[in-house]
């Protein structure tokens, strides 16, 4: 079922729309969200990747009911000292007023957007991944180095507004925007293990944990889909500069913000070494179940003090820089582009992508791409936009081989959108 769902939302949308083309669309819309008219859009984006786990292994991890040892070996066979992963999902809508591109007069517009977003990302040590998947017995007689490692999860809803403007120069057309978002935080989990060593005695007589960590978690009693446990704000800004009708430079900075989580949040810090040799009891014959939970709680408290209180976390900002060269040939190739992207504080590898943009007629636009970075390795991408009447349907992926050869790829990003020009 989960597999069917996965395939459904990544593939089926491309066959949905078969309507009459809208002659007002042009290939620029396939390159960037060009402000040619007022628009209403709903979109969904998912990006999943890990630098040391193949897409096939990730599919097993997320889609299988049970991981046997082979599947676990698949997940761990490429592990490195740093194992980065990220999963980002976003679903929502967007409304934008038009900018007059016919007269190219200065224009002021705005846009509104609302998105429900999930961010998972982190960087796990090899031993931590193996401990999680195989247990500490694998390290009997050894020390599993479980840090530095980190794990972050944000779940929030963002309501935003953007201010748009443009300027016309002699040979330039410049559009810029700045926006702000209200963030309703639903859930937050963060663990940052700065130092972690887990030693397991050969025969299990002792487990020794040397750890330094910081952890935060939003209200554990309020985990509903739309429960609000924090309030925050984020900002974004960007511009597109078209020069001589040939060159376009893109700049965008987003997710520059924070969420302040309420006083029910759990906060923990630890910098300790614990030798655990078993819970001490007076008499083995008095062994009862009731001794375990209180003693486990006290052990947990001994490892890290956990307190309730407010906590403010910052979102991982996303910076995007790009360049597009418009081609005035009469062929189908209308432009080529390249951009780089980086998400700060998110165990992110700088991402670069190069793409070519084809327009076959007024209805079909296709943009193949080649990328590297992010939580992925190399990716062969493809973006397709179909235009009909005032509608546009867009589907894109940055890693086609994940659909075809999942065991040889390390992630996938899928974007689907349905847009209507108003």
């Amino acid at each position: 079922m989960k597999k069917a769902l996965w395939l459904f939302f990544t593939l089926s949308v491309s066959t949905v729309f078969a309507q009459k083309a809208d002659s007002t669309q042009n290939y620029k819309d396939s390159v960037y969200f060009y402000n040619t008219s007022s628009k209403l859009q709903i979109d969904y984006h998912i990006s999943i990747g890990a630098n040391t786990a193949t897409m096939g292994a990730l599919q097993s991890f997320f889609l299988e009911d049970f991981l046997d040892d082979n599947k676990k070996e698949d997940l761990t066979k490429n592990l490195k000292s740093e194992n980065k992963f990220g999963i980002f999902t976003s679903i929502g809508g967007h409304y934008q007023t038009a900018i007059d591109t016919i007269e190219l007069k200065q224009f002021i517009g705005f846009s509104l957007n609302a998105h429900y977003r999930n961010l998972y990302y982190g960087n796990l040590s090899q031993d931590l991944v193996e401990t999680i998947l195989f247990g500490n017995k694998r390290f009997a007689g050894q020390t599993a180095v479980i840090g530095p490692s980190s794990y972050n999860n944000y779940r929030f809803t963002e309501f935003g507004a953007k201010y748009h403007t443009n300027f016309k120069g002699k040979n330039t057309f410049f559009t810029a925007h700045v926006g702000a978002n209200l963030l309703l935080g639903h859930e937050y989990k963060m663990v940052d293990i700065e130092r972690g060593n887990l030693f397991t005695e050969t025969d299990g007589e002792e487990v020794r944990l040397d750890i330094k960590l910081e952890g935060h978690q939003s209200d554990t009693n309020s985990t509903g889909v739309f429960d609000v446990n924090g309030i925050g704000a984020s900002f974004n800004l960007g511009f597109n500069a078209e020069i001589d009708k040939k060159h376009i430079i893109h700049f965008n900075l987003s997710d520059l913000g924070f969420i302040s989580w309420n006083s029910e949040s759990l906060n923990a810090v630890a910098d300790t070494t614990i030798n655990f040799q078993g819970f001490v009891i007076d008499n083995l014959f008095d062994l009862t179940d009731s001794i375990f939970n209180p003693k486990a709680d006290s052990l947990e408290n001994a490892v890290y003090g956990q307190t309730k209180g407010k906590h403010t976390s910052s979102l991982p900002p996303l910076l995007k820089l790009g360049y597009t060269q418009l081609l005035e040939k009469k062929g189908n190739l209308k432009a080529i582009s390249a951009y780089t992207m980086y998400r700060f504080n998110a165990s992110y590898t700088p991402y670069i992508e190069a793409a070519a943009h084809f327009q076959f007629n007024k209805s079909h636009n296709l943009s193949p791409s080649l990328s590297f970075g992010g939580y992925n390795r190399f990716g062969l991408g493809l973006k397709y936009m179909y235009s009909a009447y005032s509608w546009q349907a867009i589907i894109s992926t940055n890693n086609l081989q994940s659909l075809i050869l999942p065991n040889n790829s390390y992630g996938i990003g899928v974007f689907v959108a349905l847009r209507r020009n108003l």
């Binding site: 939302f9 949905v16 709903i42 999930n118 397991t200 078993g278 009862t288 009731s290």
Partner: protein, 690 residues
């Protein structure tokens, strides 16, 4: 159609994206961790309080248990006694009422016609008086209101005395008494002759129901005189016929009268205490004297109560005086008083000083006259009640009697071997002491008649064989000295051991109870102190059984069983443990091998499964003195498969079956520094997600 697909797409995306968490697969890990660790000494196998460390650090079990005792409180019930007296007015004394009336000769002569006129005319001269008769009835009022208003008699007497002061004889004098108010006749009488110058008294018994009022009428119905014949007598018309009336010895049904001060009750009684002793004195530990009075008497009643034989701290005897106020007309009045007798000493030799268990008291009651008329009837009474309530003796002195107390078929629960369910044990020696602690000032005798060791688990009984069985053991009396007195008890120990009895076999039977018969003799030699015995409330004879077992033993598969509550589901709430190995690592510092089995019980205590292994916790090595050189490390492995896990999930209790076997045919001692370090280690397959 397209709209429907669009809706489906949007809905799907919304549902997926709004999920709280990404779901992942389940997997299993191999978790290896210590679970619990413990250091067990002998105190974990037997109760801490009975372990005694000897000078050489070897251990003994010292077990003291109570066999039999009695104290004064067991022998004597609290003393309660009620002494009541109901006093009615028929016991009251109204006294004697005297009234008088005189009739002069002149007064009488006026009624005597011609002869009377002659007498009056002859006043001062001497004449011969002729016969006088035909005098009409004469009435005279008598006022007795100063004494009573009305009397209704059960019986009584009205005496009438006639003193003839006339110079002539009086004959055929008929008189009567009537109540003036209704002319009811009280009595009528005839006096045949009253010679001149003499008097005569007529005693009239008044019948039951006679009513006498304060306003009386005396009627001379007839009075005659034969005259003097020819003899001349001096006539003085002032000569008197005196009539004296005396009302006496009244038994009243009802009276409205002025009652005089009077004692109407005064009694001294011996009050016996019921008990089996012959006590000559007693100090009261607690208890009360309650006095209550209920009176319908319309006059003040004063009463007095005393116990001449009771004193407090050498002070005066107990005595109290109380007053019951006059009852309202037609009603009653009550009152009560309470006195704490704690600490009072009673002489129990009675009024004559020769008795036992007896004190004496005195109670008296009187009426204080108010000087006013009050109405009393034979139904009126004052009820006085004296109650001794819950008198408990603190100390009794006297002769406690000669008694034989037989205790048969008594069970003594023995818990030092609890938990032993199997195997054999052989003790090198056992010392059992019968300890009799006598805190009574009387000689005692203790006789052990039978002791049987009962092992209900094995259904095996062993009788004690000992030459002392059936022979009384004298236990001399306690003594006391000083003030306050300090008691010096007599403690008698009778020791039996493996050399003079089979007591070791008795205990190697690992009994859960001992059944015994014994006999206690009180004053077996009689009253040798001439009533010098004493006993205090808290003190008595206490017989206990002291068992000392030096822990020098040979154990053969001696199995201890202990059950503890254990709900595995509380530990593995999400059923994530799927199997593995449970390791019990032990550093055995005891000189015996040990095996451990775990029996899993469900909520109904039904056996679900047994986790067993052929591994043993090997005995520690011993030196030439049979002392442990160093602990021996062993590990017991319990493989837990999926079936065991299923049983564990339904487990509510764990039974530990631990079997010990000494590795030597010689007795080995257990020393205080012996210990068993145990560590339970889990090597589990653990499903990460449910």
């Amino acid at each position: 159609m397209n709209k429907n697909i669009l809706l489906l797409l949007v809905s799907t995306l919304l549902l997926y994206s709004c999920r709280k968490d990404l779901e992942t697969a389940n997997w299993e890990v191999e978790a290896l961790s210590p679970l619990v660790t413990t250091n067990m000494g002998i105190n974990n196998l037997v109760e801490d309080s009975i372990i005694n460390t000897n000078s050489d650090s070897s251990l003994s079990l010292v077990y003291k248990n109570h066999l039999y005792d009695f104290t004064l409180s067991d022998l004597v019930d609290p003393f309660n006694k009620s002494i009541g007296n109901t006093l009615t007015v028929d016991s009251l004394n109204l006294g004697t009422t005297n009234v008088s009336k005189s009739i002069s000769l002149g007064e009488l002569s006026k009624q005597a016609g011609l002869q009377g006129a002659l007498i009056i005319a002859s006043n001062g001269s001497s004449i011969a008086v002729g016969p006088v008769n035909g005098i009409p009835a004469l009435n005279f009022d008598i006022d007795a209101n100063n004494f009573f208003q009305t009397l209704t008699l059960q019986e009584g007497y009205m005496d009438v005395t006639f003193d003839n002061g006339y110079p002539v004889d009086i004959t055929n004098l008929v008189y009567s008494f009537t109540n003036k108010s209704n002319s009811s006749l009280i009595l009528r009488d005839t006096v045949p002759l009253i010679p001149a110058g003499t008097s005569t008294t007529r005693i009239n018994q008044l019948s039951s129901g006679t009513i006498i009022e304060g306003n009386l009428v005396v009627t001379i119905d007839q009075i005659e005189s034969p005259g003097t014949g020819s003899t001349k007598v001096l006539i003085d018309t002032t000569d008197l016929l005196d009539i004296d009336i005396s009302i006496r010895d009244l038994l009243l049904q009802e009276a409205t009268a002025i009652f005089p001060d009077q004692d109407f009750f005064d009694e001294t009684n011996d009050v016996p205490l019921e008990n089996d002793f012959e006590l000559t004195s007693m100090r009261v530990r607690s208890g009360k004297l309650k006095i209550s009075g209920l009176s319908t008497i319309e006059d003040t009643v004063r009463f007095h109560y005393e116990i001449p034989s009771a004193t407090l701290n050498g002070g005066p005897p107990f005595a109290i005086d109380r007053i019951v106020a006059p009852a309202p007309s037609g009603g009653s009045i009550s009152d009560s008083w309470e006195f704490d007798f704690s600490g009072w000493d009673f002489d129990l030799t009675g009024k004559d000083g020769t008795q036992h268990n007896t004190f004496y008291d005195r109670m008296s009651a009187s009426i204080d006259s108010t000087g006013s008329l009050v109405t009393l009837s034979s139904d009126d009474s004052i009820q006085l009640t004296i109650e001794m309530v819950d008198i408990i003796g603190e100390k009794g002195v006297g002769y406690l009697g000669q008694d034989t107390i037989v205790v048969t078929n008594e069970d003594l629960e023995v818990d030092i071997f609890n938990g032993i369910t199997n195997g054999l044990i052989d003790f090198e020696d056992v010392i059992v002491t019968f300890e009799a602690n006598n805190r009574i000032g009387a000689d005692m005798g203790l006789q052990i008649d039978k002791i049987t060791s009962i092992n209900s688990v094995y259904s095996n009984n062993v009788n004690l064989t000992w030459a002392g069985l059936g022979n009384p053991i004298p236990v001399n009396r306690a003594s006391e000295s000083g003030n306050p007195p300090i008691i010096s008890p007599t403690i008698k120990n009778e020791v039996i051991n493996a050399s003079n009895s089979n007591v070791d076999v008795l205990l190697e039977n690992t009994p859960n109870k001992l059944n015994y018969d014994l006999t206690v003799f009180t004053n077996p030699n009689g009253n040798v102190t001439n009533y010098g015995d004493f006993i205090y409330f808290d003190d008595g004879l206490d017989v206990s059984l002291n068992i000392e077992i030096p822990l020098s033993l040979i154990a053969t598969n001696l199995t201890l069983s202990d059950t503890s509550s254990f709900n595995f589901s509380n530990v593995d709430k999400n059923q994530q443990v799927t199997g593995g190995i449970l390791k019990l690592r032990g550093d055995n510092g005891f000189p015996f091998d040990a095996t451990v089995e775990l029996v899993l019980l469900d909520a109904d205590s039904t056996v679900l499964d047994t986790l067993a292994t052929s591994d043993i916790l090997a005995s520690a090595p011993l030196n030439g003195d049979l002392r442990v050189i160093e602990p021996q490390r062993s590990t017991l492995y319990y493989v837990i498969n999926s079936n065991n896990i299923g049983s564990l999930r339904n487990t509510r209790s764990l039974v530990f079956l631990v079997s010990f076997t000494t590795g030597n045919t010689q007795h080995v001692k257990i020393y205080s520094d012996y210990a068993l370090d145990l560590k339970l280690i889990g090597d589990f397959n653990y499903r990460v997600k449910k």
